[in-house]
Symmetry: C2
Subunit: 407 residues, 2 copies
């Protein structure tokens, strides 16, 4: 009888612990698995032999429920890429020795792009070394929604729901005064505009924001932006704009770099202003009306209290499926979501060769952005809508959500 | 039979519409009141005769419930102070003529400090002019919690609950990597630190943030701040700090002004960086570890989806009480909350002379801040805790909260 190991990697999300939960549940329930271990801080915990046994810690339904409403990685995380084993096998040998020490037969790695690179290299190494009794499977996670070969990524739906909710609330907030005002809201995403696109859902019940949406997939023109805002200010007093943190000009430079090139800050080094902060200055200078910038910052990836039920459900299912697949002997694959239909929303789980996924980025298709490049199309809304459906009961204590702590 | 008028003023909150709801409910149910009117954008709507009849618009329980879960002022708001009637009576005469036109016998003004100044002046003017058939009553509202003569202000509890929830989630978010990192979170409040103090509730269920809390009531020393952070980084890797936007140095200068004096931005004018952004640079320069600044910005005052049930309940009760008091002939007062006991939490409503309230600010008592000036005391927690209790059902549609629109 073998043991199962699970670890988490990459940036926090509201759903990564739901996937962990799914893996643990399958591990506990499967009669071919003895113990379920977690490695602390992803493969760093593996390399440094920092393992914890999860069986006793996460065994009752209440613990599993609390784990699902706890944002970020309960096992801790890392940002680490393995060098290729052909160049340096040291890390691989260390990892295999830890697998042997704990009698690990199945390893589930939950994470984004870099983590799938780890799954790919580890599985390849095992194949090359003819290590056939260790199955390695990836489970996707990234609020950025930029993994290929899966319809969407767990964590994205909850971030999208937070963003939609927040834009609908900001719409109410910005509309109170009868004065011209511009509010620029910066959403995470340097390479892919999925999260920024989700701001469009803020309008779905008739709230008045955002007025414009600029994704990082299209070159950003300050002139066009000013023209859009001026035109809208002639129609209404409160204009709300959503921008991706990664918007770039025609030359492919981040627009924040333009600012950095122009000025240096008080300490003599470059100003690290965000895109919204930069555009706030542009509006102040060029239009001169009241203007404010807002960054959704950490909140968009950790606001578990407003998680999407659809997202948490799928995240948990993917964790279960990944564990089941590994126990059945599968390796070198990532559990993925295939959308069967949008209306009604139906999906199936699938397993995709990991080399198709690692180090690739899925950006927003150009035809899901409108011609003017200042909004998304109805196809984008159709795609997004099922992912934010449903609210979960959240356990509060003393008026604040309860979070599960593994250590 | 007279009509009742209600208007809203000042900055948005998650509870100001609950007070509006209470006023409307009382207005609709009271047999001595014919119509309930709302003035758009506070007294600006009064001065410009922009009135809407609310009877038909907000008459069913569902509309009232949706109104209570809608952030910001459904009637619109303003930031306007009346000049004194002894200097210029023009605005007063205009307001009284609009009262007469709509047969207003009762006027409830919901707002903060400036709005209570308006109530004060209007009531005084009526008394001086022997206008005895118009009763003017204030209902408090401010997330800043800085009105005197009331234990706390509606809107504060919901903002405090959002802040506590967000700190508990940020604690999870910041703890994932095994690297030294500092996160500085800026909370609203230029003159009073109540909201920043509420971050302490983020720890109430054992979450690890904030590590330090700096309120604007105490002079802020960058040296002490760096000493605190360095000491904490020796104990744990993720340090989270809460700061009031209005922290000032010993000389009484906002610390952001220090930065502005040092540097100018790309456009040649002063950098309008917030306190957290400034301290981010200080940490980067002086400690050199990973550092990030977060502003809770608009979200802390409009996150109705995570409103405090206690706050919304009290806000509604205060609206009802203010309307009832006016109809009974009371004028020149503000409805206030008197705390009868903390454990168990009990309160009563009271009516306070408006001149005791207008233009005064209630700051955090010095003995509710610890000696080092980097945290709050247990007395502060006892005070805060009842205000964030309870969660409300929030009506979602399409995965996003529904907001009520009056126009």
């Amino acid at each position: 009888m073998k043991n199962l190991l699970v670890a988490q990697s990459g940036g926090p999300s509201a759903a990564i612990n739901a996937t962990l939960c799914g893996v643990i549940e399958k591990g506990l329930a499967n009669q071919n698995i003895d113990k379920v271990y977690g490695a602390r801080n992803g493969i760093i915990g593996l390399l440094s032999d920092r393992m914890i046994e999860l069986n006793a810690l996460v065994s009752d339904p209440q613990a599993l429920q609390l784990l699902c409403q706890t944002p970020s990685s309960a096992l801790g995380s890392c940002r680490m890429k393995l060098s290729h084993w052909k160049e340096s096998a040291f890390e691989y040998e260390k990892i295999i020795s830890v697998f042997r020490k704990y009698n690990i037969g199945y390893f589930i790695y939950i994470g984004g792009n870099d983590s799938m690179d780890t799954v790919h290299k580890l599985a390849e190494y095992c194949r090359f070394k003819k290590i056939n009794d260790i199955c390695i499977v990836g489970a996707p996670k990234t609020i950025d929604n930029d993994l290929v070969e899966t319809d969407h990524c767990p964590g994205f739906g909850s971030a999208a729901k937070y963003i939609a909710t927040t834009f609908s609330e900001i719409a109410c907030d910005c509309n109170v005064y009868a004065l011209p005002a511009v509010t620029i809201v910066e959403v995470m995403g340097r390479d892919a505009g999925w999260l920024t696109a989700a701001s469009a859902l803020g309008r779905i019940n008739g709230d008045a924001a955002p007025d414009f949406i600029y994704l990082c997939e299209r070159p950003f023109s300050v002139e066009d932006f000013l023209r859009d805002v001026r035109k809208k200010l002639a129609e209404k007093h409160a204009v709300v704009v959503a921008v991706s943190e990664g918007i770039q000009n025609e030359a492919g430079e981040y627009i924040t770099e333009c600012m950095q090139m122009k000025g240096e800050d008080a300490f003599g080094h470059k100003i690290l202003a965000g895109a919204a902060r930069y555009l706030e200055e542009v509006i102040r200078e060029e239009i001169g009306c009241k203007v404010r910038s807002v960054e959704l910052n950490l909140m968009q990836r950790c606001a578990s209290h407003v998680a999407s039920a659809a997202d948490i459900y799928e995240a948990r299912l993917l964790g279960m499926a990944a564990a089941e697949y590994a126990v059945a002997g599968g390796s070198g694959k990532m559990a993925a979501i295939k959308r069967a239909s949008t209306t009604p929303y139906r999906f199936a789980l699938d397993f995709v060769d990991i080399e198709k996924i690692a180090n690739k980025v899925k950006t927003v298709p150009d035809d899901w952005i409108n011609e003017e490049g200042n909004d998304v199309t109805p196809e984008m809304l159709d795609y997004l809508l099922p992912l934010i459906q449903g609210e979960l009961p959240c356990t509060y204590q003393n008026g604040v959500p309860v979070h599960f702590k593994l250590f």
